[in-house]
């Protein structure tokens, strides 16, 4: 009997503990609900303030300006393509119908596809850049990072190309100065080309120095 009373007393105590725990849980749920309501209320207030912060836009002017910008963009693209094509056709005409020396023939033969290829390449690059605007933000940022790396790569190739041309010019200059004593002409050419090589190098160096920070900044946006 005594054991059973003691057991009942234990059960009562456990029930009381459970009630207390239940009460704590209810209190937690109420607190959570209160916090959620507060958060929702705060978000609703911010949403309202955000809508109130809408800058006024003259849509007629916006549409007119956008139309103009779109027209200019299309015109620029068309002019690039047509000019490239015109130069290529002119070079081809020279190659096919004009009496040229072997050197001139080879030169114009090599030059012929370059302008039109450049025009088509420019068109494709622009199309790709527009397409990027419709991707998600992460993909767009990755594209930007690749673009920065590619830009550095192009300047590196340009620098090495300019340097190689400068070395060729130096060899010619040395030869001509030694053989014909044409000092003034070749030193001027070397000087002018040195300035170009220096500018290309400075640009490449600046991009190479800035690249890590630029990539980190884009990474931070991801």
């Amino acid at each position: 009997m005594s054991d059973s009373e003691s057991a009942m007393s234990g059960n009562k105590s456990a029930m009381s503990d459970n009630k207390s725990a239940l009460s704590d849980n209810t209190s937690d749920v109420n607190d959570n609900n209160f916090n959620m309501n507060e958060l929702d209320k705060q978000l609703a207030q911010w949403q309202s303030a955000y809508k109130d912060a809408t800058p006024s836009v003259d849509t007629d002017v916006l549409i007119k300006d956008t139309k103009n910008a779109r027209f200019k963009l299309k015109l620029k693209g068309a002019v690039d393509l047509v000019l490239g094509l015109a130069v290529s056709v002119w070079c081809l005409t020279l190659v096919l119908f004009e009496p040229l020396s072997t050197y001139q023939f080879l030169l114009f033969l090599v030059l012929t596809p370059i302008p039109v290829t450049f025009g088509v390449w420019g068109y494709l690059v622009r199309q790709r850049q527009w397409k990027v605007q419709t991707l998600d933000v992460q993909s767009m940022l990755s594209f930007k990072q690749n673009q920065l790396k590619q830009q550095l790569h192009y300047w590196k190739i340009s620098f090495y190309g300019c340097l190689a041309l400068w070395c060729g010019l130096l060899a010619l200059a040395v030869f001509n100065v030694l053989m014909y004593n044409a000092y003034m002409l070749w030193s001027t050419q070397l000087l002018v080309n040195s300035v170009i090589v220096f500018i290309v190098y400075r640009r490449y160096k600046k991009l190479a120095d800035d690249l890590p920070l630029a990539l980190t900044k884009i990474d931070d946006m991801k």
Partner: protein
Amino acid sequence: MKDTIQIEKLLSEYAPLMARIAATFEANKSLQDELIQEMSLAVWRAFDGTSESRERGFRGEASVKTFVAKVAHNKAVDHVIKEQRRQEFAHDGEFDSSHTISASSSREAILQENAMDLMTGLRQLEIKYRQVLALMLEGFSQLEIANMLGINESAVAKRASRARQQLTQIMEQKP
């Protein structure tokens, strides 16, 4: 011609959305206007020529509003990157209230002040938090935001929570 009229209607409808996004990322009024125009042009290009756009731009996988917001956000982030590179981007630029509707009563003045405080606070957030919060304030769901930003929903939830904490702190620090 029919397409042009439809796109013009679309731009008119979503100009306020683009303007808000531009204001979230750029404080300077003239740069803001430039950005809105760039956004409009990008949206137009994306919808340009119905058959063409199905191929490369809007593929009907999202609502028009979601698509416009995505393109506008891309342009805004692109703008921030360019401005950072030009080192002219002013994070603490003043919000130009002259281009919002002028307040005619004290209540409206308070609302405008709240709006200005919110925008100033938003511009102080990191870009990744600013984007999520701005899209939430536009009323997009977490799934829509995740699709627009190219991240998963749990990342959106984390960023949203962090953004709200940061913005609350910024707003509380204001005098």
